[in-house]
């Protein structure tokens, strides 16, 4: 795979002096789904807005398919589709017309057959003559996607596509995104729903305070940072943890009758066998054992909290 979008040391300082991006460098591979995860105000939308030409960068360079987004903006932008965070639609326009409009803006000849295919895929075809203000919120969001796809882009940006969307529609949206990926479209989605990044992405980038803190394969990230936790329920409460068990850094659960052991699941030795032996040697009788894997959310929170 080769990089279809290449971002090199991109910065953005707004007029008021706020530094929204502090030198972001990132290569987006063709065909992948990349999630940019970060809290509100982290710089996700600014990054997307610069790539798509809505905001001017302060310094740095971006190329799309090898075309510079400023000096060769026409070639670069033809490859891009953007689904914005807000529902920014002309309220009196009709679905088909507004999709035709976008296709025209991107310099493509009218092709209603192609638009029919997109609208059908997004379950909008029977709404094609409806006015935008007569549609539900979820339908409006689909219209935004249809517009973004109207010129057959190679790269699709989805800026918080499922913010304020109900669970069912969110699942639909994920399905749509996967279908698009299957057709070869590269997808960059921003979200602050970790569940979404976890469910969708090939790679995950974490942005906080204008910096790209990491970009990694989702599974590698989860493995690398995935702590496991074992919870041990005891027959009899244990007010004090015996010193013979000090090396395991055990702590109490909610009550003295449970112990918690954190370990690295990918480590060479998890220490579980020894711990169980030592527990038994100390005469502690177990009632139950559970293990749980830390989620992307825990990883994310720990990353963001570590920052000054």
């Amino acid at each position: 795979m080769s990089a279809i979008v290449s971002i090199d040391n991109l910065t953005k300082t707004y007029d008021g002096g706020f530094q929204a991006l502090k030198g972001v460098t990132l290569d987006i591979e063709e065909g992948e789904i990349l999630s940019l995860l970060g809290p509100n105000g982290a710089g996700k939308t600014t990054l997307i807005s610069i790539i798509c030409g809505i905001t001017n960068p302060s310094t740095g360079r971006v190329t799309v398919g090898g075309h510079d987004i400023i000096s060769d903006f026409r070639a670069a932008r033809r490859l891009l589709g953007l689904v914005p965070q807000e529902i920014n639609l002309q309220p009196l326009e009709r679905v088909m017309n507004t999709v035709r409009f976008t296709r025209g803006l991107f310099g493509q000849r009218p092709d209603d057959a192609y638009l029919e295919k997109i609208l059908t895929q997004l379950s909008l075809w029977d709404k094609r003559d409806a006015q935008i203000n007569a549609l539900s919120g979820g339908m409006k969001r689909r219209v935004l996607i249809a517009k973004a796809l109207s010129h057959n882009p190679r790269v699709l940006f989805l800026d918080e596509p499922t913010a304020g969307v109900d669970v069912e529609l969110r699942k639909d949206m994920w399905e749509t995104v996967r279908e698009l990926q299957a057709e070869g479209v590269t997808i960059i989605l921003t979200t602050h729903y970790i569940e979404e990044a976890e469910a969708m992405s090939d790679r995950i980038g974490v942005i906080a305070k204008g910096e790209l803190m990491l970009v990694e394969e989702k599974t590698a990230l989860m493995n690398r940072m995935g702590q496991k936790r074992m919870r041990i329920d005891l027959q009899v409460p244990l007010p004090e943890i015996p010193s013979s068990l000090a090396q395991y850094n055990l702590s109490h659960g909610e009550t003295p009758s449970s112990l918690v052991y954190d370990y690295d699941a990918k480590g060479e030795r998890t220490g579980i066998t020894r711990l169980l032996n030592d527990l038994s040697a100390a005469g502690i009788v177990l009632r139950d054992v559970q293990t749980s894997q830390s989620s992307l959310e825990d990883i994310f929170v720990s990353l963001v909290e570590d920052r000054p």
Binding site: Y14, F101, F106
Partner: protein, 253 residues
Amino acid sequence: MNWQAIRAIYLFEMARTFRTPTQSLISPVISTALYFIVFGSAIGSRIQEVEGVSYGAFIVPGLIMLSVLTQSISNASFGIYFPKFIGAIYEVLSAPVSAFEITVGYVGAAATKSFIIGIVILITSFFFVDIQVAHPVWMFAFLILTCLSFSLLGFIIGIWARNFEQLQLIPLLVVTPLVFLGGAFYSASMLPPLWQKITLFNPVLYLISGFRWSFFGLSDVPVGISLAAITVFFAVMLSAVWWIFRTGWRIKT
């Protein structure tokens, strides 16, 4: 050149016009008819003639200019302000279109619409007064230049405005007074000598004077100066729009 984009913007804006025909076309015609009744018949019956032209006919060029100026500004400013206001401007900014193409699309549509209104008013006036156009080619030239330059002005106002009040500010406080004081309903020669001098500072006077010359061959200022004035104004507006897009002023952050 992204012709498809120009076409898309132009057709979108024209469709907006024809979606609201009452507001777009019928209301200028009705207000013009009212002007004819009030100024042409009521006042005109006392003034009779201005420099050999019946008063009813004399005010036709001024009336057309009044509508064309205000319509050009309000149409072009709304056309760009509204997408900015609701955020739909994002797709124009993220599309492979140049500033020039965006301007041609929006301003071209606004100018087309005010040109149509100008012609509709002219045709309406044929029903009220006996009027002939002495220099039709120049009449069209003045009309088209005016439509284009004031649509550019409206476009700039639409980009500049941060709210609906600002959108109305310049048309109401600047343009309408200038048109009324620019000889739409009288000849500058009817004013006291001091005001004849002051009125020369009103740019709209040159427009109306030149346009009226194309109808009757009479003018307050030499027609060459009128033509120069509107051409300079057009060039200034074009440069302003060019600067706006070069810097991203009030469009891109």
